[in-house]
Symmetry: C3
Subunit: 314 residues, 3 copies
């Protein structure tokens, strides 16, 4: 695997291998496996981001990489330069991999197919967000140890959510029992999973995975009924109290407090929202390490007689 | 002291301790006192800044810290994320302290009360700017060695100035004789110090501390009378020539040349304007070191049988 | 030479010395020649840039420098601070050199004359772009080994191009046979070199150096005739096929694909466009190293009994 751009092509073994690797990184059992000297990586974010971008940056610096930070608002993108030409520029000046977020669905996958260096998808429009999915998976893995039969309900603005898509695919691959819950206009018919009401979902789910309502894409009329939305479709205190004993609440953030979730529940006992962010760093370290490692193998810069990632935590 | 957010709570001993520590750092007598490995700090500037932000960045890098640079204009703040959630995100991904500038008075103090990690105030609206004050104090300390009876006149747009507020408080704590000079509409009645005319001030002050006129907040009509302002309220060449032999001129910058001060005086012999900037790096190193040190003590990551900062320059 | 701001003052020996130094850096024969510890450099880009800015950043980090990244859009420039005061601020907080791009012609040269620390020109309005020129020279040097009689035709929007100006000057100094090709309204009468038609140029040039048409400065009417422009003045496939066997095609990028050059030729065999970008890193390393080295000599921080750069590759 040269790139990490989609959950569609990840096998169960690959996902479980990555999850074990993330655990090894988090618990400090391993050291990064590639040579560190003067290695650059470029972060190309064509859309606003705080946590994904900063989480990648921390991961990269922890791996000893030099980070090239692309600021689209002061770049040649203003002069009409294509994503391909910008990415090739970073490759030419020394970047060994590229992390990219782009507003257009599939733009990342197309770029990956054109470049020699690894491409990591930091979110492509309504398409996918595989590293967010990976950190979500890891958060569940920490909690439950396995995915077989795990009841995970993804709740909210599914239609606009790349997080929902990547997670539904990956969870399904891992054997979880994926369900969706959304108001009529937020449903996505291309995802083949059952819909259920939020009141039903809270009572029999192991994981309630809330999504962010993308308020900036909706009309001001809709935005006014935040309390209504919460009461009809969100996680109220009442619904929280009906969760199973061991259930957890997740959200990719940024949270619209009082919309998807009651303000007071963001840091409640069953919430893993900030834990997810911490896990994002370890998850991205594992992904970056993996693609750099495989690139170096392909180029013959390193040798081995075993496959990643067994080598590292065997 | 977990945070460094206000001069109001700083005692005379704490201030003098910090000043000695800054001196020790500037003269290379000490090394940073906390473990350096892979430690991250986040700079959250919600308002434009060159020197404060860059000065913090140099200070952080000199202390061996990894800097996480938050760009509000390409962040999730655009999606409506609160300052608290953004700051918690940085804590979750590994930041050990947060430096924050925010346009709203008290926003920094409120954040500090909510977070477990140390918060350093880089300026809160019209509230305070304690690290600017500290570097100003250090610049006077270098020059005069003590503050008892030192005649310091703060001149200019006092009403809008967080620098004036922090300095008036801290100088008063240190025993200086603080006076203010401002045109009628720039006075701040909440500060209990005597006002005097600029012509009187230049003749008997040890320190003339000019403030920036915040032209961007005033009407264009006022902005037109720059020369008038200088002649009536600013430091003209004539007034400069009437300063005491040993007196110094300070300004937090950016300077409006020809408004608060005659263009040719910015780098005059008695001016310490660029010296202040250089001192800003050492001052911020001392503050960052102090809060990280105390956080590590609190968490039991390091031990000691003496209090900061005595240990370090005894 | 304290600064690197113009090709006008560079002698043939100085240019050839730099080119050999770039080669030594690219091939790993030398190590940077100044002490590295905690040295800061500031990048002040007052205009958008991807490749120049990022290329400088990679060069700086490869030299072991700490990079201070100035973001004009969130800086005190918004409060009206002058370039001089901003640059002095960076000097005060520890920058040992400044790289600057500015929209105003000669702004960089004026700044250099006022500052004690070295200034490197990253492009001044329609003035010069000497590091772009240096990487272009190095790309030709790699290919042809010498410049005597080398037929170089600079093609395109010469009137608005600082790249054209710096290259025409430097190539002429080095003994190359410089020619220009442009539509009537893009010609610059201040450059004393012969104009020829593109169809003639492709058949007898060793180097076709295309320039970017600055579409953002032209009217929408002109912008509509991209195909016409390409056919009349640009590098079409037909013209490419008429190039000499050993000829190369260059372009400073970003490229307007389909305007200056046919889309499919950007990565054609004779194209050195991405090679130029890679060379930019080595070229900027050599320039930064040179000005820092000479500054340290001047200040007596290092001693030597030979002149740069002979010492380094003799």
């Amino acid at each position: 695997m040269k790139d990490f751009v989609s959950m569609k092509t990840m096998t169960k073994d690959q996902l479980l291998g990555l999850l074990k690797r993330i655990e090894a990184i988090e618990t400090g059992q391993v050291k990064p496996s590639y040579k560190k000297e003067e290695m650059f990586i470029a972060n190309l974010f064509y859309e606003p981001s705080t946590r994904t971008k900063m989480s990648f940056e921390v991961a990269e610096k922890k791996l000893g990489l030099n980070v090239l930070d692309f600021h689209v608002e002061s770049s040649s993108a203003l002069k009409g330069e294509t994503v391909y030409d910008t990415a090739k520029t970073f490759e030419a000046i020394g970047a060994k991999a590229i992390v990219i977020r782009h507003p257009k669905e599939n733009a990342v996958q197309e770029l990956a197919a054109q470049l020699d260096i690894p491409v990591i998808n930091g979110g492509d429009g309504k398409g996918e967000h595989p590293t967010q999915s990976l950190l979500d998976l890891y958060t569940m893995y920490q909690e439950f140890g396995s995915f077989e039969g795990l009841k995970v309900t993804i709740v909210g603005d599914i239609l606009h959510s790349r997080v929902a898509r990547s997670n539904a695919i990956a969870l399904s691959t891992l054997g979880a029992d994926v369900r969706l819950s959304a108001k009529e206009s937020y449903r996505d018919d291309t995802l083949d999973f059952p819909y259920l009401e939020i009141d039903e979902a809270v009572e029999d789910s192991d994981v309630i995975m809330l999504l962010r309502i993308q308020l900036e894409r909706h009309s001001s009329k809709e935005a006014l009924n935040k309390a209504d939305y919460l009461n009809q479709y969100g996680l109220t205190i009442d619904r929280y109290n009906r969760l199973k004993e061991h259930a957890i609440v997740m959200h990719p953030a940024p949270v619209n407090r009082g919309v998807e979730i009651d303000d007071t529940l963001v840091e409640a006992e069953k919430s893993r929202i900030f834990k997810q962010m911490a896990n994002g760093v370890y998850s991205r370290m594992a992904v970056i390490e993996m693609v750099l490692f495989q690139q170096q193998l392909k180029k013959g810069e390193i040798k081995h007689d075993f496959t990643y990632p067994e080598r590292l935590y065997s």
